[in-house]
Point group: C2
Chain length 151, copies 2
Amino acid sequence: MGRRKVEIKRIEDKISRQVTFCKRRNGLLEKARQLSILCESSVALVIVSSTGKLYSFSSGESMAKILSRVEIQQADDPETSDLAEKGMNYLSQKELLEIVQCKLEEAKSDNASIDFLKSLEEQLKTALSVTRDRKTELMMDFVKTLQEKEC
Amino acid sequence: MGRRKVEIKRIEDKISRQVTFCKRRNGLLEKARQLSILCESSVALVIVSSTGKLYSFSSGESMAKILSRVEIQQADDPETSDLAEKGMNYLSQKELLEIVQCKLEEAKSDNASIDFLKSLEEQLKTALSVTRDRKTELMMDFVKTLQEKEC
DNA sequence: TAGTCTATCTATAAATC
DNA sequence: TGATTTATAGATAGACT
């Protein structure tokens, strides 16, 4: 869409790569916004430049909510169950726990740790209702004890 | 980009909304792919139709890895610290825990629960190194005991 | 390094198959 | 419905600031 047709491969010249990044990034973010409005759909878009700068857009509902659907649907649909092999990436439970771990690094107040305990209890409740696992059961009891004693 | 200019607002006619969704969705996914290649950047895109069907793209590295940067950078950068007020959404720790909870609903095997315990230990380690919270400390000891006894 | 300016290329709205 | 065609709006490459 410019003076000449471009081949889709890494732009070698640093300057024009940066310029193109800036232009196309803005275009993509705008297109994402338009799609969400025109077609009443949920769109989440995250772009990280090669220098690590971040740009993002997400429609009405929270990004987390949109993303939580990724694995659920891919697990349900037999046609997409091997998406990983097709070169597409998806959110695995392991990856999500990695993110949570990352968030915890930022938890620098005692208050954050209390919130963590509460969230954990909820997670364990859910896990228990599904797995009926003895370990999980014991752990939940323990978490409750911790909360009650407020140590 | 068509026979006539379109206003960016919800398309009322169901048929043409569906047709437009299909076309623009494919266009957006292709543009995301091109940006990631041309400019060597990380791009994660998730689209959910109004009927709940999911479409996604993510470049080379995993989507989770790309997304884990969202809150970190927004917290670091004073100019973006009030992004929520500006109508943009970001991943909060609370939202991430919601996702994990969602994943746990799918954890239907004992194996999944063991993996959960392992991940949890790692999370607690990190939390402990930052918060020096007595509750977290006790909990980590407990988790370790559970793992060792293999109950 | 981010705007402006065209020329030109691409995406897509509407029509048609 | 989905695929193809056509006309046109929109995006952007390259040059300049």
